[in-house]
Amino acid sequence: MNKNYRILDLIRRNRSPHENHLIDGLVDGRVSRRDFIRHGSLLGVSLPLLGRITAVAGFGGLPSLARAQGTPGATIRVACIAPTATIDPVTTSDFTGFVLLQQAGEYLCVGGPDLVLQPVLAESWKSNDLGTVWTFKLRKGVKFHSGGEMKADDVAASIDRLADPASSSNALSVFKGILQKGATRKVDDYTVEFHLDTPNGNFPYMLSSDNYNAIILPASYKGDYEKSFDGTGPFKLEKYTPKVGASFVRNENYWGLMALPERTEFTFFNDEQSQILALQGGQVDMMNAVSPLAGIVLLNDPNFNIISAKTSAHNQFHMRCDSDAFKDPRVRRAIALCLDRDKLVAGLHKGRASLGNDSPFAPIYPSTDASVPQRKQDIAQAKQLMEAAGAGKGFKVTLTTERYIDIPEYAQLIQNWVKEIGIDLDLNLLDQGRYYGDAVFGKSNWLDSVMGITDYAHRGVPNVLLAAPLKSDGTWNAAHFKNRDYDALVSSYIAALDLEAQKASAGKIQNLLLEETPVIFGYFSDLLVPTAKGVTGVQPTAMGQLFLDKASKA
């Protein structure tokens, strides 16, 4: 590998210490090329520059987001699950909701494939040395569909609205303890500063497509989003009919490259099966996503392509650490050892998933310490642990979970596996509303059950996953896991701006969680986006957003 140190030095000259540290890591081989790009983008190093750095460091060029130009003028028809509630950037929480938000609206930056943050409405960003103040430079000349130019006021209002506890913001949990209402400040018309409560090395992710509520709206936004879908994106709303669908047309005044398709149509379906049928029947060109179980139908069909993206989406299989059955970590480990993760990935997900290692650190995260050994099925050891914990005879316990995508099958597989170590698992499958209940302790099957499986969507950074479900005061701590060491490790991980520091904390966290195993992370599923043959240029994010501006039909 040829390393052109001279050019690297040139590049380093204008970089912050963190950035330079990252570059050093790359050069020293501590940081892989992929991690470098991902982490570098986070720190605000522009992509072309990163490309240059990696090229200079001998890794070859960055894969371009914009692929080969297709034929313009197509109408791309997408099947989605009907949104479960009103589309409103402030409150929307469902998958289709944020896919629709992002058709007309845009974020300051987006998490592209492989978690690389790409600037969109922001041209660049950087933090102070502590990671407590982040400054975003905005793109100039961006116009809302309603006509006005997007300026710092709009950004500040949009983000402030999300951080306002009085606004029913769905993003409140993201900003909680990090960004308060009023902490977003306009510096000038094209510069915005964010003053954080605590240092946060991953803050830009919170303003990216990963925080799907964070689309930039005019400062004057008053609700009624469904009427206009006002935003800055490459498409603007043609028509939205609740429960039926939405259509968008090309925004001819778009600030960037004009979108290829003339129109996009989103048709709502009640479930995946109908979407698949519509796709098979040629009524739509693609689905916004498909679950591996339902998508099996399409996986082997030559008439369809499946775009797949690695994500950190997963199901958390928690065991309450304060319950009699699971207070002994050996029992929890024993259960974790029963899982045949290879089978889960190969069988349940037909290979479209990655192994989980009982911590939120998915392989996709740059900070994940890959050197931590992967946990494998080991019944013999599991039995020993059970004996050691005095539970050699096994016991009976109820696994409460939700009826959602592959969870029932996952639960049944677990049920079969733990039988081997004498655990008799009763399944209690609830519909989602019932499982989550009020989502507060004492009023939620999710948070109160002795053992449960909960679906978690993709996160661009593991921060939330590390904190809410596992920290002693975590609001989603269904495992009731209380461990000071862990809390401390997570705090230091979050505060770390430096990838290596993050990785070091990550490794410790991973090992601690392997030892304690309050939550079993069996696998991380891929995002699967099926399209009809001939549809090209569709770009999903790991989060599930769908960029159609480069899409075309053969």
């Binding site: 479960t84 109908s274 989602q432 989603w476």
Partner: protein
């Protein structure tokens, strides 16, 4: 009753909208905005007051008026039910009549046993078997009722054939059996004997004397089946992913969307009442004993 149901439904509206991972403060705020943190009785009173004035209220979940949703869903349900009904009433009655006229012959046995069998099968079972035959193997009919947007009448009809078939079969069984037993009773009656012994041609006996009396009970059955039909629609709508009133109610119940739930259920109640009343009316028109009362 639905009001009581609404009280015990789990979860809360704000939570249903914002999802489990939203911050509690946001949920509380939203609940307050929607007014769902008021006592249920107040909510109910408000809703009833508005409903009486023709306003079905505003959906908590969709934050837009309920009426279009309910009307749409009802329209869809009625389309589906209408297809089944239009097919089943004449065919069911005809089969029952034919069976009765061929009592205890093979044709009768086929119709009665066939009718019994299809009538007692859960809709989703007949539905699945039909889907497999016509949708998966023969590929004649679409296996989902969701027709492409802006479909014309015939396309919609085409999409509705398969979903309406299970309903058809269940109703067919009931109606054919009722028509058959009504026919048998009428054929065995003294007045039929009188008519035959008058020397009336067979055709006149059947058309003038037997049919009208025989089909009166069948009409009642058809009425009582509207209740069933609405129940059956839930399953069919689930099976064929059809946006009808049944799925509307189920969704509303899950989302604790109180105005939607109330309006949907009440709409069903109204449809049921209207159907029952109109059949009562029809029945009394056809049956002089009810129409004219008794002089004695």
């Amino acid at each position: 009753m639905v009001f009581l149901g609404g009280q015990v439904l789990p979860g809360n509206v704000g939570r249903a909208i914002l999802g489990p991972f939203a911050d509690q403060r946001a949920v509380d705020t939203l609940n307050h905005t929607l007014g769902v943190d008021r006592p249920l009785l107040t909510q109910y009173a408000t809703w009833v007051w508005n409903f009486v004035q023709g306003d079905m209220g505003t959906s908590y979940i969709f934050r837009s008026p309920v009426a279009p949703f309910v009307i749409d869903a009802l329209g869809n349900s009625i389309k589906l039910a209408a297809v089944a009904f239009v097919l089943v009433v004449p065919i069911g009655i005809l089969s029952g009549v034919v069976a009765a006229l061929n009592l205890n012959r093979p044709l009768d046995r086929i119709i009665s046993l066939g009718g019994l069998s299809v009538a007692v099968l859960p809709e989703f079972v007949t539905g699945i078997i039909l889907v497999l035959i016509f949708g998966v193997w023969l590929r004649w009919l679409p296996i989902s009722a969701a027709w492409p947007r802006d479909s014309g009448f015939f396309t919609q009809l085409y999409y509705l054939i398969l979903p309406s078939l299970p309903l058809f079969l269940v109703l067919f069984g009931y109606i054919a059996r009722m028509a058959r037993s009504g026919m048998i009773e009428a054929l065995d009656s003294d007045y039929t004997r009188t008519a035959v012994l008058k020397g009336l041609p067979w055709r006149t006996v059947i058309w003038r004397h037997v049919l009208r009396n025989a089909l009166l009970p069948t009409i009642t059955v058809i009425a009582t089946q509207t209740g069933y039909l609405i129940g059956g629609l839930v399953v069919i709508e689930t099976l064929f992913r059809y946006q009808g009133i049944g799925s509307l109610i189920v969704t509303a119940a899950r989302g604790k969307d109180f105005p939607m739930l109330e309006s949907g259920t009440l709409t069903i109640g109204i449809v049921y009442a209207v159907a029952t009343l109109s059949v009562d009316f029809l029945y009394s028109v056809l049956n002089p004993r009810i129409r004219l009362g008794s002089d004695q």
